[in-house]
């Protein structure tokens, strides 16, 4: 499994990255941790004549906990998310989800930026970022712009990012909500058969705010506004949870593959969402 030949670039700043992207257009692509892109290149499902390694680019790393929001640099690895104590305090769902991604070796390399920019419906961070209403910062030849995670995903491997743009960071609003990331997978290290990210804010025994997003159940992550709305104003009685689950089932669109037929995926999605809601509520 040898990939096609390529020219290797390792710039040290963003200007250098943008220059290669501008010069080579579609023929150039950035490399972060490489644990999605390199397997694709080895299978020759991706051909990248100009590979731009981001590892030495300054300003793309780091976790910065500020008042009201958390800034996570694109090159931050899953391991760094798991190990950051401050982040675990203010946004514990990130660690809970990161621990369910792949295996230790992959988590040392895999980055947040690569995970959200990749556009693979199997990636766990996109749904999570939609649940948390995160914003992605993109830098391109015309400067910087921001896109909501909820508006970013268009289809499998198709996102709002232009070919000449680089995702530089993810900004997550602080929430203080009950949370849960639940994932059903065939074995450790596997992508989700179904996964749910849930946050719930409670006040005096009632749910006042809820956000629900599902992973690997459509060609994009699915933020189910209706599912969250079904919980608001209730005390999460059975009828409210049933309503949320059926709203979610109305929003997903799974296909049959080696993880199972459509009916099974819907069944798994419902089970996983019920578990995630129960756990988020117990922490709300």
């Amino acid at each position: 499994m040898i990939p096609a030949a390529f020219e290797y670039h390792r710039p040290t700043d963003m200007a250098g990255v943008l220059a290669v992207l501008e010069e080579h257009g579609d023929d150039a692509r950035v490399l972060a941790g490489g644990h999605s892109l390199i397997p694709m290149m080895k299978l020759r499902m991706a051909e990248v004549p100009h590979l731009i390694d981001l590892q030495d680019v300054s300003g793309l790393g780091g976790i910065d906990v500020r008042t009201g929001e958390v800034h996570i640099g694109a090159m931050t690895t899953q391991t760094e998310i798991i190990e950051n104590a401050e982040l675990a305090q203010v946004c514990p769902i990130l660690k809970e989800a990161a621990l369910q991604i792949a295996d230790p070796q992959v988590r040392y390399m895999g980055t947040v930026g690569g995970n959200v920019a990749n556009g693979d419906p199997g990636n766990d961070m996109p749904g999570l970022m939609q649940c948390l209403d995160a914003t992605f910062e993109l830098v391109g030849p015309d400067g910087t712009r921001e896109v909501k995670a909820r508006d970013f995903y268009e289809a499998a491997y198709m996102t709002d990012r232009e070919d000449d743009e680089v995702l530089t960071k993810v900004v997550i609003p602080a929430h203080g909500a009950g949370y849960a990331y639940e994932k059903q997978k065939r074995k450790i290290g596997d992508y989700a058969t179904a996964a749910a990210a849930v946050t719930i804010v409670s006040d005096m025994g009632k749910c006042v705010q809820a956000s629900i997003a599902m992973t690997n159940l459509s060609d994009t992550p699915v933020w189910s506004e209706a599912a969250g709305a079904a919980l608001v104003g209730t005390s999460l009685d059975d009828a409210a949870v049933d309503a949320a689950v059926s709203a979610m089932l109305g929003d997903i669109d799974p296909t049959q593959d080696n993880r199972g037929p459509i009916e099974f995926k819907k069944h798994a999605a419902a089970v996983i969402l019920r578990r995630a809601i129960a756990r988020a509520w117990s922490r709300a």
């Binding site: 499994m1 040898i2 990939p3 096609a4 030949a5 390529f6 020219e7 290797y8 390792r10 490399l31 490489g34 644990h35 390199i38 397997p39 290149m41 080895k42 004549p49 590979l51 390694d53 590892q55 391991t79 792949a102 295996d103 230790p104 070796q105 992959v106 040392y108 390399m109 450790i188 290290g189």
Partner: protein, 164 residues
Amino acid sequence: MSNKMHIKMNVNGEEQEFLAEPRELLIHTLRERLDITGPHIGCETSHCGACTVTIDGKSVKSCTMFVAQANGKDVTTIEGLGGPDDLHVLQSAFKEHHGLQCGFCTPGMITRASKLLEENPNPTEEEVRFGMAGNICRCTGYQNIVKSILAAASELQAAKEAAE
């Protein structure tokens, strides 16, 4: 396009310099170019962990890294941990507790375990299993691998306490 680049890396304490195409996978560099055949190729698809090496303090599947990415780095393979005449504590523990059968997965297992024990010197059984989840073994059923790693951890702890 044969665009060889100049690569420099430190492998098991030795400086290595050579010309290579950037697309060369690190596992091939180690095995074929440098004749360091401890790291094995099990799946070649980033799943089995037989190719695990340590790079700048991370456990990495060397079948999923281009040699160009490792330019300028420190790489440690099983050969860098210990050899027949000076076994690493983990190597002795695997020998003692039957942590291997065919031995194919063992270099990756031990290289990964060495990093795990560095980060968590006193792991529970569950932590060992979770921390070793990137390494597949087709023979042992894992029981004795876990036992070996826990035994090595105790031994390292005891040696540390004795030194203090």
